[in-house]
Symmetry: D2
Subunit: 284 residues, 4 copies
């Protein structure tokens, strides 16, 4: 298929390359110049608007604001190839997903939200977990492309925001798992238990899954190079709080965690991996 | 070995039977009469003191207060067979573990804390996860017995309270996992996602471990028959808060969760499984 | 004026007597029999419906459920004297105020919410602070009656729920002031400061108002006889949380306080004055 | 008396001038040059060490770190006039007060903590509220000086940290009062009540004291020019949390408030008056 790709960063780059490997023609755009080998096999284009001259397109940009600037304010969307289906793979707010849906419909384009779970190494290996939501035809059109970048795709509904809500909730749960590890380490550490000994117990019993194995390793090692920076983690907790507003229900653990992470960021840990919240717990 | 066993309830009964099956002679005591088949192969004795006329003994009673009454206030401990090693398998406070250690030492007895993870069916199948801490000789003496009731034993240190701290922290993490599921269901439910669809996503990606699979099933089914009653769960969160006091560190997610569970108990859910906190989240 | 009065308890009794003193004819009903001197000068009637055969009527019953039973389920409202204006003086939920408004309109009656601030001694002395909201004519009709029971009336709007929201928010602030005192006592007590010494400082500087003087006295004395029972306080915090739901905004201090008070109630303090939360803070 | 004064900022300047007015000889030092009229009647000295060539001295610097640098790292304290009594008027941590006490004792000097409540206009008018704690002789020596800068002095104990704990707790209560106003405005605003109308009610009933009148005015006006910057407020909440650690007790409202204020600072409000937390509450 003729596919556009906007944003060739640490996640977007490998995703675009996997589309090339799967035999698609990729028209790629990145804000800053990219090294030749990273774009091997792609057609590098000069503007986002050119990337949208395709049957389908992906966007993998940092956040709502970046997408708004590159696609909406620039007018790129209005000049997209008629019938294009556009998949936004970033973690964006549910509210913005709704706006994107409407703006695409106005422009005669299809829109799906297709956020992904996984780090750059999973992107490289085409092993991302992909969530997708949007109108059936639009989803059907991009599904083969999603298969090329991930190990499995979960189709979550016909409203694009449903995929974003799921991604935001999954990230919220991940942050809660990290803070749970952090608080457990504080508690057991008060009695002289080494983190490794406690982690061995819980990974061998109730918590033997990747959320806990990945982050217990980071916490035990004390190596908090990102990874996923705490500033971004705090942003995602904000998205979770915003997404929950319409329910009118309180999410007390989210509130507590968000306050705690904001404190850690205020204390200067914003550039560390978000699991550095465990270091903050031991000191604060 | 000649082994005493105090407390033949839903957990203690199967544990004692597995000791019999492993070839040990079990002198068992229970507060209320037990049906003959439950005590098959055991010597039922008339007092806790008689159960302690053994080389080693287990106690599986509800909480600190029950153990204090049956073993300390009654004088049973003082008349125990010299050299007995006593393993308390209940979830007790770290502070009480310290007191038990001292009282046993005064009486010339060995003491270990040996709390277990697992539900009655795991007890029946000798598949409990066992934590143990205490003086090396005492731990060594009971380890073969622990092997008879569980699938694996984690030796956590020479201070008995270390095993209790680990158990309390593991239960705290479990409660946090349940509340994380509950809050995620509220958030995603606000956008029309069914719990099953969201659970399928997270169990298939980051959270594919028993803590999440067991409780997501309960939450999706809406069947909150215990299981583990929320009253007891709230008690364990209290133990966690008490255990963390000496660290002088704040555990903000624990605080938030404890407040939330206290609200749910105040709203009448104390006798439900503690995963009914998810029902409270949807309504409160 | 010919005035009905439903509920002659510790607050309602003195309020009704002050209406008599001000020259009004009072048709009073109470669920249980009342001593003669308490009803001096009133016409005791046999049913709530008879109390509503008046130009205006007050209801001072415990909560939403009691009012629903006595006035709605009983059919009393439907047989009220045409044109009656009904003032509910209890602390009820904002949602129920909306329902009452609609039900009165259907029955051709006027409705105002008129909750009060003050304890029984203030009711006795006609020194209550009265909030009122409702349609202008209805408010105008009851204002002379409100003047007879309070020292001042605040007219808060044309939607009855506005008075309830104000009352609920004021009670929330009061509970927050109590918990603020409690936490400050814990903090300063850690350095050997007596509560009296700290209270003297803050009452003499920033906090010289009745909320703080009343409750600092109770906390310093350790006398937690109600007063206002913590069970009722927790109910009011629930009303505050429910009232805030429609805003979609988080109230983190309310959440923390509500969790804490639920814990204190779970720990057995529900029948104490709500300032016993300070005792809980020192121990928990 | 011959008095040193270190730190002639918005608070220290007026305090030093009031010492001059009361007839004391003031040897003043400031890090940056000060306008002549601000130092009218003082002897401006070139180093902190020279300011300490006096019978008594005040320090009014920003925080622990500034005091450590100017007085300890510089060696100024070691060369102070023997017998000097030193009063630190800033809000410092309880832990640092303990260190200062020990360092002064080693150097043969007296030390008191003398934090103040009040804004620059109160400092100008010699109407500060002064807390003081320290050894009796040292307190007695500086009391006449404290009378010259404030309207009343509260003597809180013989351990200097007691005055700091009281100041920190008072500031914590102030922040809680502000957040209580903020949450009440959100709740009542959801039903169309104007902040002014609600504030009129609570100031006229339970909350008629300066903490609430000052900050309700700021919140109603929406003018959040400091005043007291939220960054500094968050610092003081950190001091409160640190001071409470040794008690081993949880302060749940403090935790919630600290998390919330950290969020507001992370959202860019650090330079606003801390009452801008009310703006954050309306939006977050």
């Amino acid at each position: 298929m003729d596919v556009g790709f906007i944003g060739l960063g640490r996640m977007g780059g490998p995703m675009a390359r996997n589309l090339v490997k799967a035999g698609h023609r990729v028209r790629a755009w990145n804000r800053s110049p990219v090294a030749g080998e990273l774009a091997d096999g792609m057609d590098l284009v000069a503007t986002p608007a050119e990337a949208l001259q395709a049957e389908a397109a992906f966007t993998m940009l940092a956040d709502d604001a970046a997408i708004r600037e590159v696609l909406l304010s620039s007018g790129a969307l209005q000049s997209a190839r008629p019938g294009l289906v556009h998949a936004v793979a970033s973690t964006i707010s549910v509210g913005f997903a709704g706006e994107l849906r409407a703006r695409h419909a106005e422009a005669g384009l299809g829109y799906v939200s297709a956020p992904v779970l996984g780090r750059p190494d999973a992107a490289e290996a085409a092993q991302l977990a992909v969530m997708v939501a949007g109108e059936k035809d639009a989803v059907a059109k991009v599904c083969p492309l999603l298969d090329a970048i991930g190990r499995r795709t979960w189709v979550l509904g016909e409203d694009p925001g449903q995929a974003n809500a799921a991604k935001i909730a999954a990230n919220m749960m991940l942050a809660m798992a990290i803070e749970a590890l952090a608080e457990a380490v504080v508690l057991t550490g008060g009695y002289g238990l080494a983190p490794e000994a406690f982690f061995d117990l819980i990974l061998g019993t109730l918590f033997g899954c990747s959320a806990y194995s990945i982050y217990s390793t980071k916490i035990a090692s004390g190596d908090f190079e990102p990874g996923f920076a705490m500033n971004l983690g705090l942003k995602d907790l904000r998205l979770a709080a915003a997404a929950s507003e319409k329910t009118g229900r309180r999410l007390p653990m989210l509130d507590a965690l968000r306050g705690r992470m904001a404190e850690a960021v205020a204390a200067g840990l914003g550039d560390k991996d978000w699991s550095a919240i465990a270091d903050y717990a031991r000191q604060a």
